[in-house]
Symmetry: C2
Subunit: 254 residues, 2 copies
């Protein structure tokens, strides 16, 4: 892992990094936090489909967690997203998606296939990034690790959380569900939060409820709100922070 | 409204009151809070079926809201609950419930009928109690009013919130649904939180999801957690507090 930029604003150090061809960003608090001894929690954030590691919503959530709560946050671009060139197969999927949309056809089968391929490729990348992050003095081996992401970020996160025992709590949200995701949910036992868009024209409510039901986690919590995905109200961001705090920090829960 | 006792512990003044034959309790903060000018928010708490105004869970939530957040909280006994004698018809329902349970039969039809009767009687009582509370200097006409309650407390609260525009935000939870409740939800437009027990052997999940769907409120949020009703995790109590704070206080939401 190679750091390519470093800036510092309002108590937050932001560093771009490159690991092989994976582009990412790491936000850490400038001053030691309340977690000094145990290692501040690290949250891995997965962006949604078509967005990237610096989409405004992701950055807002990251800065809030770092500046107000002393966490560290890392985000990477999914294959073919953000600063990473799109390969030919991915280009074909994206083109097919646009064509289907223009023709007024459902994009669901294409997005599902595309997401499945991206998720499969992203999991080993994330695992290697975790290895490197844990080797940094600013993070360390003891930092409790959480994951958060919606749509594509959920598809990737479900497979990653099912595969990597270092992830100790995860926040997911509205996603096009396919069998591998339901199967992964059934293998996840760490605490899970699931944010469901109650009136999403593209993702049927029932598939989200069934996915939530599939998690094997004894501690799981579903939060549903009106609107479509991408319209998560800010109070759920606060809920997500509370979720990470109670599951990733040594604070005694009430 | 006549106060019959007054004690003060850990910054909270607790007063029993009697209004006609309705027994209740009012908790207010001992010292003026951050809300001094606007009037501290008042939360009306409805107890669950078979419990009363001093059930431990209700008292814990009330003391937390008053001591930590400067709110006022009022609770009343439902007809035939707590300090209020049960009339003959209610006794017949309770007896029928016990007989059905012993015979291994469903208590749902009996509880539904009993709850419907209790809710119908409780609404005018609550409305009269609100009149009296608003006349107290410790509360005042400007105090924003919220409601919270599960099961029977939800049945009563749904009818009350639909009927009384003074209630500006309400937290409900798992309840045996009957038509009048769904109809009331359809007339409710204030912000609503709904706490759903995901695996309740007595209350089918689907009826809770349908009730949440029926609320006309543009701001509504569903929180589902494993377990049966009565097993709401403490983090949802924190969520409820955040819900009241963002909907009943002048704090600018982010």
């Amino acid at each position: 892992m190679k750091f390519t930029t470093e800036t510092s604003t309002d108590g937050v150090i932001e560093r771009d990094f490159l690991m092989d061809d994976v582009t990412g960003v790491l936000w850490t608090p400038e001053s030691p936090s309340e977690f000094e001894d145990e290692g501040a929690p690290l949250v891995l954030m997965g962006h949604s489909g078509g967005l990237d590691k610096r989409s405004p919503g992701l950055v807002a959530r990251a800065l809030d967690l770092v500046a107000r709560h002393g966490f560290s946050v890392a985000a990477v671009d999914a294959p073919g997203h953000g600063d990473r060139p799109r390969n030919e197969q991915d280009r074909r999927w994206v083109d097919a998606m646009f064509r289907a949309r223009e023709a007024g056809e459902s994009i669901v089968p294409i997005v599902t296939e595309y997401n499945a391929s991206l998720a499969e490729r992203a999991v080993p990348e994330w695992r290697a990034v975790i290895d490197e992050l844990q080797a940094l003095p600013a993070i360390g081996q003891d930092a409790p690790i959480g994951y958060g992401g919606m749509t594509l970020g959920t598809a990737i996160g479900l497979l990653l959380t099912a595969a990597d025992p270092r992830i100790r709590a995860a926040s997911f949200g509205s996603v096009l569900v396919y069998d591998d995701l339901t199967e992964a949910a059934g293998r996840i036992t760490v605490p899970v939060q699931f944010l469901l868009a109650w009136d999403d024209p593209e993702i049927p409510r029932e598939t989200g409820l069934a996915l939530f039901d599939a998690f094997a986690s004894p501690k799981k919590t579903l939060h549903a709100n009106p609107g479509r995905h991408g319209q998560t109200p800010w109070h759920e961001i606060e809920s997500t922070t509370a979720f990470y705090r109670r599951n990733l920090t040594p604070l005694t829960p009430r």
